[in-house]
Amino acid sequence: MTTIRLYCHHGATTKMLVSKMDAYAKSNGYECDIQAFPYTSLVESVKGADAILLAPQVRFKLDSLTKEYPDKAVIVIEAADYGMMEAGKILEYALNKIKEKE
């Protein structure tokens, strides 16, 4: 089971993306636990995550999070992919990054 957490400002746009990523994961047979939260709830929700995906609008958190969570893959989603809600592309990228980490 791969655990992925997405963060944006309100957790609204990322929630839309999560439902698409879930559908993509199911149709491809990936076992993933994907959830989205506002980044203000990061501390409470990040436990056990393999990857932290940041929406581009909170990308300024990248440096501090990379330092704080060296065991997790911390990724900023490409703006164009995020805008067009390219769930598959984003998930594949995240899974690759997690593999690199291991």
Partner: protein, 426 residues
């Protein structure tokens, strides 16, 4: 132009990082969100107690207790909102700081807040300082109490219980030592303040901090700076909320003051409140409702049509990221002019119409996701006028965006006709 844009990005990124680190502001924003049910119920109770529509006035007059019910609800929710904040804010702040045993700080904080409030021993706590006038006091107290509490917790200056004691009991004891220090200190400060010309600490915080800050912060200049900060942030692809959160203390205090004025049958004194802001951002903080409508209604290229499909539904609910990153508007030199013009035009029109008294707002915006126009009925006591204002602003925005989007659309059409597909920029 490109140089100018990369300069904006270089300035805005560190600013938002800096502000993003001010977790107290995040905690404050969450607190206002959490106590929203209280403010919304209180707001509706206020409206219902004073709503001046023929049949409703008749109902209120024939059943006198009805107005009493609404006014009691209002007086024990909105009018003592600082007390609710004194419960929620320290907890959210403690969570943000990752304080151990964060619940333990709540009763300590409430005690400290009440200790600086003027009271009549054993008989009453005057509601005056528990309402909007106490907001800055509650922020300052919560900040100090949580910080000091955290010092005790992080340094391990606590009464330690043997391992065999259940964690539940242990936690209660861990909050004991900080409480033994913090509460008497505030008790002393509260009493010493009665010897000063201010009479009590609330008056001092109000006179020296809240009143001047609210005065400067509520001005037209401050409001435009707020709008432009949001605009600049989104332009570099950062959520505007992360930078405008420095205004949270002021907009929160303004909103509560307006709601209280409303409950006394007065015109809300502050123009700059969540209501006017909700109108100024036509389609959420990104202000892209007009943009997306132009794309959906008038664009002919496949790329634009595809984009319209992705963006329309989220945008109706004021979620602006798809069009921001998808078009992209972010860092796009071709769209600088319509982008900033819509922000400025919307903001000025929203301010002028409110300042002139053509429209009024309650001070509440129950949820930022309520679609424009419909939103009028949640934020205003003159909803029909506000709805018309929203429609006018949407049309103005569409007129501003149309020529610029048309140029891009034509370019896409040419590319699609010639079979050359350029990859999406951004």
């Amino acid at each position: 132009m490109d140089k100018f844009i990369s300069k904006i990005e270089k300035v805005m990124l560190p600013i938002s990082e800096r502000i993003g680190k001010l977790v107290f502001l995040q905690a404050l924003a969450q607190t206002m969100q959490i106590i929203l049910p209280i403010t919304v119920v209180g707001g509706f109770a206020t409206l219902l107690a004073f709503l001046d529509i023929g049949f409703w006035t008749a109902v209120l007059e024939s059943v006198p207790i009805l107005r009493m019910i609404f006014m009691t609800i209002q007086s024990l929710t909105l009018s003592i909102i600082s007390l609710y904040m004194a419960v929620v804010l320290p907890y959210r702040y403690a969570l943000q700081l990752e304080v151990k045993n964060p619940f333990g700080v709540l009763p300590v904080n409430i005690a400290c807040f009440l200790l600086i409030t003027p009271t009549e021993l054993y008989t009453s706590i005057p509601a005056e300082w528990l309402g909007h006038k106490g907001i800055f006091a509650v922020m300052i107290i919560s900040f100090l109490v949580v910080r000091v509490y955290n010092l005790f917790m992080s340094r391990g200056i606590i009464i330690k219980m043997p391992e065999s004691v259940p964690t539940y009991v242990g936690e209660a004891f861990s909050a004991l030592l900080p409480a033994l220090v913090i509460i008497p200190v505030f008790g002393c400060v509260g009493q010493l303040m009665t010897l000063t010309p201010f009479g009590h600490m609330h008056q001092m915080i109000y006179d020296l901090i809240q009143a001047p800050l609210q005065g400067i912060g509520s001005s037209f200049g401050s409001y435009m700076l707020y709008i432009l900060t949001a605009a600049l942030s989104f332009f570099v692809g950062i959520h505007g909320m992360s930078t405008t959160s420095v205004w949270n203390p002021i907009t929160s205090a303004n909103a509560m003051q307006n709601l209280e004025a409303l409950s006394q049958g007065l015109v809300p004194p502050n123009v700059f409140d969540p209501g006017v802001v909700a109108t100024a951002f036509v389609g959420g903080m990104g202000s892209f409702l007009g943009t997306v409508l132009v794309i959906v209604l008038f664009m002919k290229s496949k790329r634009m049509k595809q984009l319209g499909k992705v963006c329309l539904v989220p945008q109706i609910f004021n979620i602006c990221e798809p069009v921001l990153f998808g078009l992209p508007i972010m860092l796009n030199p071709m769209l600088v002019i319509p982008y900033f013009s819509t922000y400025i035009v919307n903001a000025v029109v929203a301010w002028v119409t409110r300042a002139a008294g053509l429209v009024l707002y309650t001070g509440l915006d129950p949820s930022w996701t309520i679609p424009m126009v419909l939103k009028a009925f949640f934020i205003s006591q003159t909803p029909v006028r506000v709805a018309i204002l929203h429609i006018i602003l949407i049309v103005i925005d569409m007129l501003i965006w149309y020529p610029f989007l048309k140029v891009i659309d034509k370019q896409y059409l040419r590319e699609e006709d010639s079979g050359v597909i350029t990859p999406a920029q951004g």
